[in-house]
């Protein structure tokens, strides 16, 4: 292929990417604006909408987060014990499990799961509303679409993602406990004591701060892809896929950056 063409394509992709980033940033600012200024402009964000999103985003995800975090905790225990057997240090596995789950895997697994569930749902819902003129209908009724569609989701995500991350931490530790108790003959209480002695508040805070950042990423990627949909049903499908892939990619990248800076 003509190298000049490739460079031109790269240039166009970068410009488009910057445009989208700007659009997402404006959406974030606007949704925060409506949360605080809404009541003064007779367009307050409805509490019922926030609770409805809390149920959909958070409460409905509890079973799957619990199960998958349990599984991840168990896998960490299995792998950890297998590796540490080389040094005869299986008893130290609790250190590895506790730190990995609370600082890394809890927020990451929760972020990825919620990105898949909610990131796609947001893009699909808003994209479909764009295509069927429902967003226009909102505007002619005097309802600002960002206030109606984005602000409740943002609030709900900022509440629920840290909460789900904490649940994931507990489930992961429990998963590790189940395996360690059976394999190492460790008592459950000893496991808990070991966790307490290893973990510091800072570890938990690290994980929860990451979850707040992930919440913002998932919301923005989902709604931006939803609002920028073109092309009918196929466009909505493309947008939904893109939303999940981008959200997960940004989550992993953000995780890497945060982890680096928080552990210097």
């Amino acid at each position: 292929m003509n190298p000049l063409l490739a460079i031109e394509q790269l240039g166009r992709t970068i410009v488009k990417g910057i445009e989208e980033f700007g659009y997402a940033a404006l959406l974030l600012l606007e949704s925060i604006f409506w949360i605080f200024a809404g009541p003064f402009k007779r367009q307050s964000v409805k509490l019922s909408a926030v609770f409805s999103q809390v149920m959909q985003i958070g409460v409905a995800a509890v079973p799957i987060i619990t199960i998958l975090s349990l599984a991840v905790g168990m896998m960490l225990a299995i792998q950890g014990i297998h590796t540490l057997k080389v040094f005869g240090a299986e008893a130290q596995v609790v250190l590895g499990i506790a730190l990995s789950v609370v600082r890394e895997f809890g927020p990451l697994i929760t972020g990825i799961l919620v990105a898949g569930r909610t990131g796609s749902a947001l893009a699909a819902r808003i994209g479909t509303m764009r295509v069927s003129q429902e967003v226009d209908a909102l505007r002619v009724m005097g309802i600002n679409p960002v206030r109606f569609l984005v602000s409740p989701v943002l609030i709900a995500m900022l509440i629920m993602l840290p909460a789900l991350t904490f649940l994931s931490d507990l489930a992961g530790l429990l998963g590790g406990a189940l395996y360690c108790v059976t394999e190492l003959g460790l008592s459950f209480n000893a496991y808990i004591d070991a966790c307490y002695s290893v973990l510091e508040t800072g570890d938990l805070i690290q994980g929860l701060v990451k979850s707040v950042v992930f919440a913002i990423i998932i919301t923005l990627v989902g709604v931006t892809n939803g609002f920028l949909v073109t092309g009918g049903a196929e466009g909505v499908g493309r947008s939904t896929t893109r939303s999940v892939v981008l959200a997960i990619s940004f989550i992993v990248l953000a995780d890497m950056i945060f982890t680096y800076f928080m552990n210097r």
Binding site: Q43, M129, S132, Q133, D136, A137, R139, M141
Partner: protein, 258 residues
């Protein structure tokens, strides 16, 4: 009610509306017609406040759109009702909840009051008792009627219709026309209707405006349009197609092969 002066608007580099002038007086029913691509939907979207013009002035219900603040424009929505072509009903809400949306946003009525008002609006469009159905369970005619019920939820002074009879069988379309006339008689609403259907237009319009390639080519009542000598208007009225076949088979074959 509505005053548009020298409206010019572009879609990227393409000029869609070119120096359009339109006045709509209180209590009239104005029908906007034109071929596909003449700019009628764009004009409607401008009147609804969904698009910003390149240049020109527009005044709606006394508010100067070109210079008004967002808050002032916001206040107008309470006095406008819109029935979109595909209904644009919120698919996650029932018929009743759809109709109550404007009420929830602009009033502080109690739920019981809103329920009664919803019933009233549904009765007007002959859909009484259907408030618990979801939009996906409705037929085409029912969707249009629900959209109309939602548009009149707050008894607006100005009502807009985008292709109200599109996709409806002739009987249902005629019923919708009757409904529009009754609404005007009962509530003195001013209506702007964009449509292709000649029968509906002749039946309900006080004034017909014809657009062609972004410019107004005709503005008059039903009698006047039937006597117009404008080429484009005559073609529209008589559903005359352009001369397509010039009998040149060689040229046709060449187009096929290439």
């Amino acid at each position: 009610m509505i005053q548009i002066r020298d409206l010019v608007t572009h879609y990227g580099k393409r000029k869609i509306l070119d120096g359009l002038n339109l006045t709509v007086y209180q209590g009239e029913i104005v029908v906007i017609m034109g071929g596909s691509g003449s700019g009628k939907s764009t004009l409607l979207n401008h009147m609804l406040g969904l698009l910003t013009a390149t240049s020109g002035e527009m005044e709606l219900l006394g508010v100067d759109f070109t210079h008004a603040s967002n808050d002032e424009k916001q206040g107008l929505h309470r006095h406008m009702g819109v029935a979109f072509q595909s209904g644009a009903l919120f698919s996650s809400m029932s018929v009743g909840e759809n109709i109550q949306m404007p009420m929830r946003e602009h009033t502080n009525l109690r739920q019981s009051t809103m329920d009664i008002l919803t019933q009233m609006k549904l009765e007007i469009v002959k859909l009484g008792g259907f408030e618990n159905l979801m939009p996906s369970e409705l037929s085409g005619g029912m969707i249009k009627r629900t959209a109309l019920a939602r548009a009149i939820a707050l008894d607006p002074e100005l009502l807009f219709f985008d292709e109200p009879s599109a996709g409806l069988d002739p009987i249902v379309a005629a019923e919708l026309d009757e409904l529009i006339l009754r609404l005007r008689k009962a509530f003195h609403m001013t209506m702007v209707i964009v449509t292709h259907e000649l029968d509906s237009a002749f039946r309900i319009a006080d004034r017909i405006v014809v657009l062609d390639k972004g410019q107004m080519v005709f503005d008059g009542n039903v009698e006047e349009i039937k006597q117009s000598t404008n080429e484009m208007v005559v073609a529209l009225i008589n559903r005359k197609t352009e001369e397509q076949d010039d009998g040149d088979t060689d040229a046709f074959l060449e187009r096929l092969m290439n």
